[in-house]
C-alpha cells in the first residue's frame, strides 16, 4: 500500500466506514478566489464571514456571480437587514433573477439572527446574506448549524473590527480595495484549506468600464 492509499484508508476508518458525499460547492465565479477556496467555491452548509474595509468597494459584487447562478437554478436568495436599498435594476443587470430574491427588513439584533436561522434551515434557499448589527460566537455557531441542516450558504457581513475576534465560521474573508482597480481578499480562516493567503480579484466597478 502506498502512502496515498494508506491515507485514504485511514480517512475511511475515521468515517466509520460510511461514505461521505462530497460537499456541494457553488463556484464563486472568480477564478483567483476559487483557486484558494476548498472545493473551488462557496461551500453549501457553511457560514462565510465577509469583513469589508468600507462600503462601496465591491463587497456585494463579489457574491453576485454565485447569486445569479443560484437564482437561475431555481433556488432562492434572501437579504436580511441590508444596510441600504438593494437596487433592483443593478441586481437584474448582474443576472440575479429578482423573482427568487427575498428581502427581509428587521431592526432588532435578535430578529435579524432569528430570521437568518429560519432561512438557513429552509432547504429552498441557496444563499442567505445577513447584515447583523452585532453577533456573538455562540450565535455564529447556531447559524453554522442551521446552514448545515438546510444545506445553504450563509454570508454574514461584519465590520472590519471583527477580524480580530475568533469566530466559528468556516470561512472568514477580509475585503479591501486593491491598489489598482480590484478587490483584495485576505483569507483569515479557512476550514479545510489554507488560511493566511491573499488573493486579488478583478472586480471593476461596473459603471466605470
Amino acid at each position: 500500500m502506498n502512502r496515498a492509499e494508506t491515507l485514504q484508508h485511514l480517512a475511511w476508518l475515521c468515517r466509520n466506514g460510511r461514505a461521505v458525499t462530497a460537499p456541494v460547492v457553488e463556484a464563486s465565479g472568480w477564478t483567483e478566489l476559487d483557486a484558494v477556496l476548498p472545493g473551488g467555491g462557496w461551500q453549501a452548509g457553511t457560514v462565510v464571514e465577509l469583513m469589508p474595509a468600507a462600503t462601496g468597494i465591491g463587497e456585494l459584487r463579489l457574491l453576485l456571480p454565485a447569486l445569479a447562478r443560484i437564482t437561475g437554478a431555481g433556488r432562492h436568495v434572501t437579504l436580511i437587514a441590508p444596510p441600504y436599498i438593494p437596487f433592483a435594476p443593478a441586481l437584474s443587470q448582474h443576472g440575479v433573477r429578482l423573482e427568487r430574491l427575498l428581502v427581509i427588513q428587521a431592526q432588532h439584533a435578535d430578529d435579524i439572527l432569528w430570521a437568518a436561522e429560519q432561512s438557513l434551515r429552509c432547504r429552498s434557499f441557496g444563499a442567505v446574506l445577513a447584515w447583523p448589527a452585532t453577533i456573538r460566537d455562540r450565535e455564529v455557531r447556531r447559524l453554522q448549524l442551521a446552514a448545515e441542516a438546510g444545506g445553504s450558504t450563509g454570508f454574514l457581513y461584519r465590520s472590519v473590527d471583527a477580524a480580530h475576534e475568533a469566530s466559528p465560521a468556516a470561512l472568514r474573508l477580509k475585503l479591501r480595495r486593491a491598489d489598482s482597480n480590484g478587490l483584495q481578499i485576505d483569507v483569515l480562516k479557512c476550514r479545510g484549506g489554507r488560511s493566511g493567503q491573499s488573493v486579488k480579484v478583478a472586480a471593476p466597478c461596473s459603471g466605470c468600464a
Binding site: 474595509a53 436599498i85 441586481l91 423573482e99 427568487r100 427575498l102 427581509i104 429552509c122 466597478c205
Partner: protein
Amino acid sequence: MLWLCIALPQLPLEALRSEETDRPLVVTACEGSARWIVCCNSAAEHVRLRQDMNYTVALALCPDVQKLERSPAAETAALERLAAWAYQFSSTVIIGEVPLDFRQARSSALWLEIGGSLKLFGGFRNFIAALERELELLHYSYQLGIGPTLEGAALLARAGIRVVIPSPAALQLRIRNLPIAQLALAPEIAGALHTSGVRTIGLLLELPRAAVIKRFGVALGNFLDRMIGAAADPRPVFRLPHRYAARFDFEFEVKSTEALLFPLRRMLHEFAGFLRARDTGVQHFTITFAHRGAPGTALDIGLSLAERDANRFLALVRERLERFELPAPTIGLRLDADQFAMPAALQADLARGALQQSEDLAHTIDRIAARLGAQQVHGLRQVADHRPEASWAAAPLQDSRDNPQFPERPLWLLQEPKPLQLSVMPQIVAGPERIEGGWWDTGDLQRDYYIVHLSTGADLWVYRDLGERGGWYLHGFWS
C-alpha cells in the same frame, strides 16, 4: 340508515371554557330565585359537587368554587362549529337542539349518518379511529353511540354502549334493562314514571302505547316511537355555510395570551375540519379578539400557500400573538374566512419534491412574516422609470416581471439622497449621466449622476442637483 351520535355531556361547561383547571368550577342556571348547578368540572366533582345541586349547598361544601352562568347561545355556537367540523366525515349531519331546561342541559348531541361513509374510510374500525383521533384534538368530553335511529343512537351514547346496533329489533333488546333516567326526559315526566314504578326502558316500552300517551302525554309516546324506529324522525340537516364564521364567547375575561391558546387551538382544529369537509384550504383568515367596552382587535393571518393544517395555523397565530399586545382583556373570539383555495399539497401528486420545497419555502416566509410583519418581507421588481428612486419597488415574491433596461446601476441605493459637503472634488470615474423626469407627478427632478472614487477605495454614486436646490448628493454605493 346508521347513525353515529356524539353526545356531549359536559357541553354547558366546555362551550364556555376549553381548558381544564384544577380549581372547582361549576356552570349554574337560575330557576326563580334558586340557583342550580348544571355541570361541574372534575375538580368540583372531587369535592362532591353534583349536578342539580343547589348552588347555596355547593357554596357550603366548597366556599372557593368558581361559578359560570350557563349560556345556551354559547352551546349552540359550539354545536354549530362542531357540525361544520363533523361534515368531513359525513354529508348528513344533524344538530340536536340545545335544551333550554337546564336539567336536560347535559343531553346535547350531534348526529352523523355513517352508513354511507364507512366504505370511504375503509371500514367501521378505521372510521371510528379517524373520527376519534380528530375529535380528541378538540378537547370535548364525548360519548359515542351507533344505532338505527337518532334517539336510539343518543341513548346508546349516554349509556356508554359502543357496540354497533344496526336494527330496531336489536336496539329494543339491548336497551331493555337500561334505567329510565338514561332517556333524558323532562324532569316531571321522569318523576311521574318513577312514582308509577316504571324503572326500566323495557317496562316502559311494554306498556300499551295508548295508555302511555294518555297518562304521560303525546310527547313521550312520539319520542318512544321515534326511538324504536316505529315513527319517522325528520329533522333539518346541517348545511355547510359558504363562508366560515365561528365564535367562542367566554364567560370571563382572559388576560394572558397563553390562556387564549386553548380556545384558539380548538377553534383552529374545528376550522381545519370544516376545510376538510369542504375539501378546500385557506390562504387568509381573520381572528378577532372581542374586548369589553372597546372595539375588537383583528388579527389577519395570511399564508403564501393555501393550507388546512390546524397546527400550522396555530403556530402562525402564536407567533403573531407573542409579538403583539392586546389592548384589553379578551371576552370572546371570532374566526372568519370567506376565501378558500385548494391546498397546494393536494393539487399535484407529480413533482412531489419540488412541491415540498415550495411548501417549505412558503412556511418559512410565513413564519418570518408573522413575527416581523408582512410588509417587512418582500421581493423586488423593476419599474420602467428613469428616476432611480422610482425604478424599483417592493413586490410579492411570485410576480411576473417586465424587465426595463437601464444603464449600469449601483447595487445599493440610499433611502434618501444624502447631501455631501465637498471640500476637495473627488476623482470622477464616470459621468455625467443626466436624469430628468417626474414633471408628470410630484417628483420632478433634474440631476447629473457621476461615479466618484474615494481614497478609501469606495465607489460612490453621486449627483449634482440641477434644480432649485442645487448641491451634491450621495445616492448609492457600487458595492
